[in-house]
C-alpha cells in the first residue's frame, strides 16, 4: 500500500540531507562511477576502496536533489563490507527502502544511485 504522504520526504531522508554521510573523494579509489539525470541535472560520483574482496571505504560527491543525496548517503553505508558480487545484487528498491522509502516521483533517484554503483563496479573490473 502506498504511504499516506507520497509527496514529502520522511524523517530519515531529511536527516541524510541535513548531514549526508561520506562526502568526499578517495584519491586512490579502486572503483569510481558517475551518473547524471539529464532531466533535472543531478550529477553524482561514487568512490569505492576495496581490501581483498570487500569494500572498506566509500565516498560520494553530489550535485543533486534531496532524494539523490539521501540515496547516495545511505548507499555509502550499505556497501561497506560487501563484495563486488554482493554489490551487483543491490537493487534500486533496496536503496529506497534503506532511507525508509522515497515518494513515487523521486524513485528515479534510487535508480540513478544503483546505476552509479554499477558504473563503479564496471570501472573496477575494467582496471
Amino acid at each position: 500500500m502506498a504511504p499516506r504522504d507520497d509527496y514529502h520526504y520522511n524523517e530519515t531522508v531529511l536527516r541524510h540531507i541535513a548531514d549526508p554521510r561520506n562526502i568526499g573523494v578517495i584519491e586512490d579509489a579502486d572503483a569510481e562511477g558517475s551518473g547524471t539525470n539529464p532531466a533535472c541535472g543531478d550529477e553524482v560520483t561514487l568512490y569505492l576502496k576495496f581490501e581483498g574482496e570487500a569494500v572498506t571505504d566509500a565516498k560520494i560527491r553530489i550535485l543533486g536533489c534531496g532524494a539523490i543525496t539521501a540515496a547516495m548517503s545511505s548507499l555509502t553505508d550499505m556497501v561497506r563490507g560487501k563484495t563486488a558480487e554482493e554489490l551487483g545484487e543491490i537493487t534500486a528498491e533496496e536503496i529506497a527502502e534503506s532511507v525508509g522509502g522515497l515518494p513515487t516521483h523521486k524513485r528515479h533517484c534510487a535508480t540513478l544511485a544503483r546505476r552509479v554503483l554499477q558504473n563503479a563496479l564496471k570501472s573496477r573490473s575494467a582496471s
Partner: protein, 389 residues
C-alpha cells in the same frame, strides 16, 4: 524553534482581522445565502459586501461583475473554457509559456478538443512583449490570456499594453492576477481586462474562495451548473466564510496595499542585496524593473535548490524552489526553462517570497544561515561540475 515564512507566493498566513471577520460565518451565522428567511438574508448581505470590496479593489465598474469561485484554478478554467464554449466556429487562444499550470493545462485540454493555442515566449527576464502577443493574434483568436505577475520569478507583464491591443482587435483579454492582486495596482477598466482570476489565500484570506471578474457583455458559458447561484453562471452554495474572508482581505488590500507593497519591496531589496554581497556566484532570475514587490528568485550557481531548501527548512526558514525534482515533476520549472536560463541557474534556483509578517529580523536570520548552507551544498558537488569547493 522559531520559524520564518518566506513563501508567500505559495500561500499566505491569514490576517487576524480577516480571521475575525470570517469566524462568525463558521459558527452562528451559518445560513444559506439563498434561503429566504433571516438566516439567509444575513449571509447574503455578507457576501454582497465582500463582492463590493472585491470590485473596489480591482476597479470594476459594477460589483455584479465579480463571481465567486473556489479559487484561482477554477477561475482560470472557467475563463478559458467558458469563453471557448460560448464562441462559435474555430477557436484560437493566445497565451504565454510562463503561465500557471491552471492556465497551461487548461489550454492543453482545449487543444485536445480542437482549439489552437499559441504560447508566446518571454525574454530572459521572464517578460513577454506586447508586440509578440499582437503578432500571435489571428482573425479566429477568441481570447488572450496573460498573467499579471509571475508566481516563480515575479515578473510583471505589460498588461495595459496587451489590454489595449486586445481592445483594438475586439478580442477578450483574460489575466490571472492571483499573484498580483494586492501587490500592484490592478484596475481592470484602465488595463482593458475582460476577465480576471483571483484567489483569497494569496492575500491573507482563507483557502477555497476566489473570484472571476467578468466584464459586462462578455460572452461566457457557465462552468458549474446546478442551482443557478452567481447570476446562474456559477452554481453551488457559496463558501460564505471564505468569501467573507476574501472580502475583508480585499478591503484591507485596498486600504493598505500601496504602503505594504513599498515595505515588502524594501525588505526584498535588502534580502537580495545582502545575499548577493555575502554569497558568491548568485544570479537574480526575473526582471528587476518590472517585478512583484515581495518576490526574489535567485540562482545559486553550483548548488542544488531543493537541497538548499531543506537545509533552510531544518533551520526553520521556509522558502521554495521552482527547480528540478521539486514539485512532483522530474522536469525543471517551465518558467525558468522558457526564460532560456542555463541549466545550472535553473538547478540552483530558490524563490524567496515575502509578505505580511516578515521583518528585518527575518532577513538577519536568513543571512546567518544561508551563506553556510550554500557553501556546504557546493562543497558536496562533484569536482568537474563544481565552481566552488
Amino acid at each position: 524553534m522559531n520559524t520564518i515564512y518566506m513563501d508567500h507566493n505559495a500561500t499566505t498566513p491569514m490576517r487576524p482581522e480577516v480571521l475575525a471577520a470570517m469566524h462568525p460565518y463558521l459558527g452562528e451565522k451559518f445560513g444559506n445565502p439563498n434561503s429566504i428567511h433571516r438566516y439567509g438574508r444575513e449571509t447574503r448581505i455578507a457576501i454582497e459586501n465582500a463582492r463590493d470590496h472585491a470590485a473596489a479593489l480591482i476597479g470594476a465598474a459594477e460589483s455584479d461583475e465579480i463571481f465567486f469561485t473556489s479559487g484561482g484554478t477554477e477561475s482560470d478554467n472557467w475563463a478559458l473554457r467558458g469563453v471557448i464554449s460560448a464562441a462559435s466556429g474555430k477557436s484560437r487562444i493566445v497565451t504565454t509559456a510562463i503561465e500557471h499550470e491552471a492556465v497551461l493545462a487548461t489550454c492543453q485540454a482545449l487543444e485536445a478538443e480542437g482549439a489552437e493555442v499559441t504560447y508566446v515566449k518571454p525574454d530572459r527576464k521572464g517578460r513577454v512583449s506586447a508586440e509578440d502577443v499582437a503578432a500571435a493574434i489571428r482573425p479566429d483568436t477568441r481570447i488572450v490570456s496573460v498573467m499579471w505577475g509571475n508566481n516563480e520569478v515575479g515578473t510583471v507583464q505589460p498588461i495595459h499594453e496587451i489590454g489595449a491591443i486586445c481592445r483594438e482587435h475586439g478580442i477578450l483579454f483574460h489575466t490571472d492576477a492571483v499573484q498580483a492582486l494586492g501587490k500592484v495596482e490592478v484596475d481592470v477598466e484602465r488595463a482593458g481586462v475582460s476577465l480576471l482570476s483571483a484567489t483569497g489565500h494569496k492575500i491573507n484570506a482563507a483557502k477555497g474562495a476566489g473570484f472571476l471578474y467578468v466584464k459586462k457583455g462578455t460572452k461566457l458559458d457557465p462552468f458549474m451548473t446546478g442551482g443557478g447561484q452567481e447570476q446562474k453562471l456559477r452554481s453551488g452554495t457559496e463558501n460564505v466564510a471564505g468569501i467573507v474572508a476574501l472580502g475583508e482581505a480585499c478591503r484591507i488590500a485596498k486600504e493598505e496595499g500601496p504602503q505594504s507593497a513599498r515595505n515588502v519591496a524594501a525588505l526584498r531589496d535588502r534580502l537580495e542585496n545582502e545575499i548577493c554581497e555575502h554569497v558568491p556566484d548568485v544570479l537574480i532570475n526575473g526582471d528587476t524593473d518590472h517585478r512583484l514587490p515581495g518576490t526574489s528568485n535567485l540562482g545559486f550557481i553550483g548548488a542544488e535548490g531543493e537541497t538548499l531548501l531543506i537545509r533552510l527548512d531544518l533551520e526553520g526558514i521556509a522558502v521554495s524552489t521552482g527547480a528540478a525534482c521539486s514539485s512532483g515533476s522530474p522536469e525543471p520549472s517551465h518558467v525558468l526553462l522558457a526564460m532560456d536560463l542555463p541549466q545550472e541557474t535553473v538547478q540552483g534556483s530558490l524563490r524567496f517570497s515575502l509578505g505580511y509578517g516578515n521583518s528585518d529580523a527575518d532577513i538577519d536570520r536568513l543571512l546567518e544561515v544561508l551563506p553556510e548552507a550554500v557553501s556546504k551544498v557546493r562543497e558536496m558537488a562533484p569536482r568537474l561540475k563544481s565552481t566552488k569547493t
